[in-house]
């Protein structure tokens, strides 16, 4: 006789809480495949936990973003934000779609060059650029986005005795009506520092002011601040043109577009509240087109959005290690995905789904990672289905920042695979080994006796 399907027995107390108009989901969503490849097969072949990136989603997202801007504005250029995800395979997909590179360190700069990006298609941002980095960027005709006066004077010093002109933009910070106002990067608009910087650059011999850049913040949940920011940059461009008869060639609006993840403390899910690419594009392009910039001098619009392009394309697959009860009898589930692999769980309420069909019974659960550290919490409180040790889970929307901010802490980092458009699974970063890790360490002679 065939045995009945088993599910762990569950009793849930009915709490008559405050009713809301949204109600509860009555069905448990399941993610059992990614782009047609079974989650169970991926984990069996490549181990658990496992990062998975969907090439199709990366390309679809890029095309969607490019369409939104290029339909509204004649000159649009995206630059892939390396720090969001600098795995070479990921960068190369964006470059293949037409993205330039946006980097914030010498390491990222060299990585972009090694991915075949010519220096003239690299935007070099950030407060940390050594003389060596600057010389390389000047020599390669990269676009240097100046963060502070010390950097500006370094460039003036470095270009004094060369015949090569540095191509620069200044990063401008400003009040766009949002909190927090990011004023630690670049020159402030309202107090006149940005205009001072422009004047100093225009008086320098070997520096060519080609662009104006801003990056107003991160996870901006409304398009209006972008309208304000693009208007203020346009105003600076007009003023520069008036005073120096010098046309600014590009306006770089940076990134900060929200992905569909839900921030901790948010009342509604991110997928219901975050603006679309069209919303952001409307705000930015309208501001530039409505400005006093003459149509003949319309600058190229650069965009460095990272999170909104890659977050959806990344998945983290894992396995339930144990179920237990906390002191108040609350359910706790331990999975093999910790905050070391999911850095973004510090600010997102990541969705987490079972990888196989299960009943619609859920329990109020805290989900912990495997680390022997009290802070290793993936979800404080989530209605989670009845899973057992060994069952698989899927965390979607993890493509941004997790594969750059991950920590080699307590354990080694796992495989990263890319599912390509033909549904082939390619390892794009191998799981780390003890040997590779130890190769970087040196033991002093007096400790090397035995």
């Amino acid at each position: 006789m065939e045995k009945l399907k088993y599910e762990r027995p569950v009793i849930n107390k009915i709490n008559a809480g405050t009713p809301d108009k949204f109600g509860m989901n009555t069905r448990v969503k399941v993610i059992d495949e990614i782009d047609g490849v079974k989650v169970s097969e991926l984990l069996k072949k490549y181990g658990s936990p496992l990062y998975v990136i969907s090439e199709k989603t990366v390309r679809d997202n890029y095309k969607d973003a490019y369409r939104a801007f290029s339909n509204r504005y004649p000159k649009v250029q995206f630059a892939w934000s390396y720090k969001t995800n600098y795995l070479d395979a990921v960068c190369r997909i964006f470059h293949d779609e037409g993205s330039w590179a946006e980097v914030v360190s010498g390491f990222e700069y060299d990585k972009a060059l090694s991915n075949g990006i010519p220096g003239g298609q690299i935007i070099f941002n950030g407060p940390d650029k050594s003389d060596e980095d600057l010389l390389k960027a000047i020599d390669n005709s990269s676009f240097i986005h100046i963060d502070h006066f010390d950097e500006l004077y370094s460039i003036i010093r470095l270009t004094k005795n060369t015949n090569k002109k540095a191509k620069v933009a200044i990063r401008v910070n400003m009040d766009t009506g949002i909190y927090p106002q990011w004023d630690r990067f670049g020159f402030n608009y309202e107090n006149g520092e940005a205009w001072n910087a422009i004047n100093r650059i225009m008086l320098a011999d070997n520096i060519d002011l080609v662009g104006l850049h801003t990056h107003i913040g991160t996870y901006i949940m409304t398009p209006q601040p972008y309208y304000v920011a693009a208007s203020k940059l346009s105003e600076l461009a007009v003023r520069t043109h008036k005073k120096y008869d010098h046309a600014i060639k590009y306006i770089d609006m940076g990134g900060g577009f929200a992905s569909k993840n839900t921030l901790k403390g948010a009342y509604l899910p991110g997928k219901d509240t975050c603006p679309s690419f069209d919303d952001y594009a409307d705000a930015i392009t309208n501001a530039i087109l409505n400005s006093e910039i003459k149509p003949d001098n319309l600058p190229v619009l650069f965009l460095e959005t990272g999170r909104a392009l890659i977050d959806d394309a990344g998945y983290l697959l894992g396995t339930v290690l144990a179920n237990k009860r906390l002191a108040n009898a609350r359910r706790a589930t331990i999975i093999d995905i910790g905050v070391n692999l999911l850095f973004t769980s510090f600010w997102y309420q990541h969705e987490i789904y079972p990888a196989k069909e299960c009943s619609n019974v859920t329990e109020d659960t805290t989900i912990y990672g495997p680390l022997c550290m009290n802070i290793d919490i993936i979800r404080d409180a989530v209605q989670f289905p009845v899973l057992q040790k060994g069952d698989h889970v899927v965390i979607p929307r993890i493509g941004a920042y997790n594969m750059t901010q991950w920590l080699q802490f307590i354990t080694l980092r796992p495989n990263v695979v890319l599912i390509d458009n033909d549904k082939n699974v390619n390892i794009i970063r191998e799981k780390e080994t003890l040997e590779a890790f130890k190769n970087l360490e040196k033991i002093p002679g007096h400790l090397n006796g035995k």
Binding site: Y6, R8, P9, V10, I11, K13, R325, A329
Partner: protein, 80 residues
């Protein structure tokens, strides 16, 4: 373990404790275990019947059963 005698369980797995006025929901396996407890079956009997009828190994079920029984006692649904 003995359930309180006045506990009522419906066919759909809805449990009512008249002493406190609290209500609970059970999933299918939880409901079956509760019915067995009401019939006065021992834990050993429940384990044997369950593993015979359901697709589960003894070790897993025993662990799940004791967790479930602890929750019944946590909610004061059992006789002391």
């Amino acid at each position: 373990m003995k359930l309180k005698s006045n506990i009522a369980v419906s066919d759909s797995g809805f449990l009512f404790d008249p002493t406190t006025g609290d209500s609970y929901t059970l999933n299918e396996t939880g409901k079956v275990i509760l019915e067995m407890l009401k019939e006065g079956k021992s834990e050993k009997e429940i384990i044997s019947e369950f593993t015979e009828k359901y697709d589960v190994d003894e070790g897993t079920f025993e662990q799940n059963l004791y967790d479930f029984l602890r929750m019944l006692s946590h909610y004061n649904l059992t006789e002391i």
